[in-house]
């Protein structure tokens, strides 16, 4: 069940990019490393809507996105990227392709962990090469996320899959868990790649390209764990103050986030429950068809009818299985990602509030002349800029996020509806052909009776 076990050096968690032997572990599905694959995967996951109208909407929105002054304009959203893949006359707009595949298990004396292979293909000048292959573990992803949040506190950073899933998980590394996580990690990196600002983040580049030891040493350079913890404590305290003076539009945003979070969590639960019910239905159906075969053994005159009924039931059973897998491929991951997004959004709001709180506390200090006030006006000026940038960044990213959310949700549910339609159509065809064969038989029999 687990991937190939290799003893590796105690420190390093990754394999050198060039020398990866990459024997795929038994259980998982390896991804081909071709350049089209990341696009294809994106296509599969988001399940394209071929309506041409959607194209125009996206490109309009792209131009509307008013980016901050410190980030160059890159009119890409995940969906416009997909549309570009479909219409080959514009291949240049996407220049960074990332795939995450080949989970492998590593055993050391201290721990066991999984690494994922990350293949990057790019035509960007700032990259030293056009192709990179590295191995990263979950911790590395966590690090990257932390760095992005640090660098862009009020941008909506894509969510990472959870560290652990408590319920029902006996072993950390069972196949389904690994596969779900792999897909989510793939999504995570691609969302960053599609983000107009984040895609140019230096840590992101290092994450995609650095050798294992390079990454380790780079990680050590940042502010240490303790200082980060200290920041967190301060952050919590000051964000409370930030809430009081929150501008109206951010109040609205916050309300939306709270309600959205509630609803998406419910939808996540409902969707998981539907999957579970469908699975249990499938399990019972598997037994149902064979009983008719058993019965046919004792009924000479009904053998054919009973066998045909058994066949129909079995076909419907297979159709149910397909419906289930459609649900777990398309709907469940999308809904779950937005559950994580909603948590992320609340974090973003807090950070925004915190930045504002910094400003507010300095303003307060000036007003009440609590401390030495000489340097304050200059500090306040800087902080005012900081607040304005933060707010603008969030506003713009918020619009972009909302648009993506609507599209993703719409696609996911449309796909679910499509799966159900297909399921019922298959079952209908099965039973209708049974009925026709019975009526034909009957006609044959009655015509035989006639002399």
């Amino acid at each position: 069940m687990e991937g190939e076990r290799r003893a590796s050096q105690a420190r390093s968690s990754g394999l050198p990019a060039g020398g990866a032997d990459g024997e795929s572990p038994g259980g998982s599905a390896p991804f081909p490393g071709s350049s089209g694959s990341s696009a294809l995967l994106q296509a599969e996951v988001l399940d394209l809507d071929e309506d041409e109208d959607d194209l125009e909407v996206f490109s309009k929105d792209a131009s509307l996105m008013d980016m901050n002054s410190f980030s160059p304009m890159m009119p890409t959203s995940p969906l416009s990227m997909i549309n570009q893949i479909k219409f080959e006359d514009e291949p240049d707009l996407k220049d960074l392709f990332i795939t995450v595949d080949e989970p492998e298990s590593h055993v050391t004396t201290i721990e066991t962990f999984i690494t994922y292979r990350i293949i990057t293909k790019t035509s960007r000048g700032e990259f030293d090469s056009s192709e990179f292959e590295v191995r990263r573990r979950y911790q590395d992803f966590l690090w990257l996320k932390g760095k992005l949040e640090e660098a862009h506190p009020t941008l909506i950073i894509p969510p990472l899959p959870e560290k652990f899933i408590v319920k029902g998980m006996v072993e950390r590394f069972n196949d389904d868990f690994i596969e779900t996580r792999r897909k989510a990690l793939h999504k995570f990196l691609n969302r960053i790649a599609d983000h107009p600002t984040l895609t140019f983040n230096e840590d992101f580049k290092i994450f995609l390209t650095a050798q294992a030891w390079e990454l380790s040493s780079h990680k050590k350079q940042g502010p240490g764990l303790l200082s980060r913890m200290g920041q967190t404590v301060r952050a919590v305290a000051s964000s409370m103050r930030g809430v009081k003076n929150r501008p109206e539009e951010f109040m609205e945003m916050n309300n939306f986030i709270e309600l959205f979070s509630q609803k998406i969590n419910l939808i996540d639960k409902i969707s998981q429950r539907i999957y579970k019910e469908e699975r249990e239905y499938f399990d019972e159906m598997k037994e149902y068809g064979p009983i008719h075969i058993l019965w046919s053994a004792s009924e000479e005159d009904l053998v054919d009818t009973l066998k045909d009924v058994a066949g129909c039931i079995d076909r419907c059973c297979k159709a149910t299985e397909k419906r289930m897998s459609g649900l777990s491929e398309a709907l469940l991951p999308v809904v779950h990602e937005y559950v994580l997004y909603s948590e992320m959004l609340m974090g973003v709001m807090k950070r925004r509030d915190q930045i504002q709180a910094e400003l507010d506390s300095k303003v307060e200090a000036l007003t009440y002349k609590k401390t030495d006030t000489d340097l304050l006006p200059e500090e306040i000026g800087k902080l005012e800029d900081k607040v304005e940038c933060a707010n603008n960044a969030l506003k713009a990213d918020w619009e972009r996020w909302k648009q993506n959310m609507q599209n993703d949700i719409k696609l996911a549910f449309t796909d679910m509806a499509e799966e159900n339609i297909h399921y019922y159509e298959q079952c209908l065809a099965t039973w209708e052909s049974f009925l026709t064969s019975q009526t034909n038989l009957h006609l044959e029999e009655t015509s035989e009776d006639k002399p």
Partner: protein
């Protein structure tokens, strides 16, 4: 007034076969309700041949069910359901039907009727009653006998029972059956007066026979095996069907939750709001559609259940055969032993053990006169025994002939009915699929407009 789904075939028809055993009861000239006096003084089996009765076709329906309270045998308050049975005669010429009789019966009276028929027509596969208590229930369905859906399905089952009897060439002519349909008061007393309970074979005797019979008819042995298999496979099928229904219910109903959440979510969404709201409505429709779907499936389950219970009726005929065969074998054995005894007495050799022989040895030889007397008694008994054996043999052969005829009739009926049931199941599935396609197509449209 509802007709049973399979009505047209089930109207009373003139009987093609002769009634079993007893001499013809005499053609009564009575018409319609005046059947009471028609010649029923015969060897104990109440049959009725009724000239004018057969000129008109009869329609029977169990049209209503009513909850009632009353006092039972122990003078305690009880609640039960009563069923209205209506009989109509149809004029041959213009097809109009006229209500001729209508009365109320409860389940226990149906049971009484059936038990009577079992005793007096042991060679017939007697139609079964619908179940007394709900079994093979999937958990959302009530197992309560007072549940309106259960009562409704039972009403249909009871009507089916009566129609089956009415369309049976032999059973339909039974007087007690006729009175069941026409004589409300006093019917129970009338049935009990036939003394049928006394005539019933004891279960113990029947069980005994099963194990001890030496030469059973192979056809009946095979039939018994068949009925066991039928019972076992249909039970299994019904159990799994109930579990599948349960799961299906779960799948549909959970989708209903989407409706509520979508509706709440739509309140905060400007662009997606309408799409979400209307999609949610379709999810509600989807979730509630399962109730009717599964109710229809219950009717299918009832059709299968009837044949589950028919298996028991088949076994009853087999048991009767075994009993008769056992009786026959015992009689033959008894006769053989008496003959031997007689022979020994005549020739003086003692080979068989007899009490008389022993006492003779112990207490002294008997006189030639005594011996002659004994031989004479034995010879009479032997004569009687031979007569009895002859008539038992005849009875046995008659039984086998008639039973087998009815079994053939039953087999054809079963094949027809089961095939029809399976086809109706397919029809139900098709309808469910069509509904599903419609709802999801609507939902998809709403989603794509979001």
């Amino acid at each position: 007034m509802e007709q049973a789904p399979r009505d047209p075939e089930r109207q009373l028809q003139p009987a093609p076969l002769e009634p079993l055993g007893c001499p013809d009861a005499g053609l009564g000239a009575a018409i319609g309700k005046e059947a009471a006096g028609a010649g029923e003084e015969d060897s104990g089996v109440d049959t009725m041949t009724h000239n004018n009765f057969w000129l008109k076709k009869i329609e029977i329906s169990v049209s209503e069910a009513e909850k009632r309270t009353g006092r039972n045998a122990m003078n305690m308050q009880e609640t039960y359901t009563a069923y209205l049975i209506e009989t109509r005669s149809v004029e041959h010429t213009d097809g109009q039907s006229v209500l001729t009789d209508s009365l109320w019966r409860r389940y226990s009276e149906f049971e009484l009727l059936r038990n009577y028929l079992l005793v007096y027509y042991p060679h017939i596969v007697v139609p079964p009653l619908p179940e007394k208590r709900a079994e093979f229930v999937w958990h959302k369905l009530s197992a309560d006998n007072m549940d309106p859906d259960f009562v409704e399905r039972r009403r249909i089952g009871l009507e089916n029972f009566l129609l089956r009897i009415a369309s049976h060439p032999i059973l339909c002519r039974d007087k007690i059956f006729y009175l069941f349909l026409t004589q409300e008061g006093n019917w129970k007393e009338t049935v009990n007066e036939t003394g049928f309970q006394l005539k019933a074979d004891s279960r113990l005797k029947a069980l005994n026979a099963t194990f001890r019979v030496k030469n059973p008819d192979k056809r009946f042995t095979d039939l018994k095996h068949y009925s066991d298999e039928l019972q076992s496979v249909i039970s299994h099928l019904l159990r799994v069907r109930a579990r599948v229904a349960d799961r299906l219910y779960g799948v549909y109903k959970v989708h209903g939750n989407y409706g509520r959440v979508f509706s709440e979510w739509s309140a905060i969404e400007k662009e997606m709001g309408d799409g979400l709201q209307s999609a949610g409505h379709h999810m509600d429709v989807y979730a509630s559609s399962i109730d009717d779907i599964l109710e229809d499936e219950e009717h299918y389950a009832d059709q299968l259940k009837e044949y589950l219970f028919y298996a028991e009726a088949l076994r009853a005929v087999c048991r009767k055969h075994e009993l008769m065969q056992y009786d026959l074998e015992m009689a033959a054995q008894d006769l053989a032993s008496k003959k031997q005894q007689c022979e020994e007495l005549a020739t003086g050799t003692v080979r068989t053990f007899s009490l008389k022989g022993m006492t003779t040895k112990l207490f002294g030889q008997e006189t030639p006169e005594q011996r002659e007397a004994r031989i004479k008694v034995l010879e009479e008994q032997i004569n009687e025994g031979e007569q009895q054996l002859k008539s038992k043999n005849l009875e046995g052969r008659e039984f086998v002939k008639n039973a087998w005829a009815d079994i053939e009739r039953f087999k054809e009926q079963k094949n027809r009915d089961l095939k029809e049931a399976l086809i109706s199941y397919a029809v139900m599935q098709i309808s469910m699929c069509k509904k599903g396609i419609q709802v999801w197509t609507n939902a998809k449209e709403c989603f794509s407009k979001m």
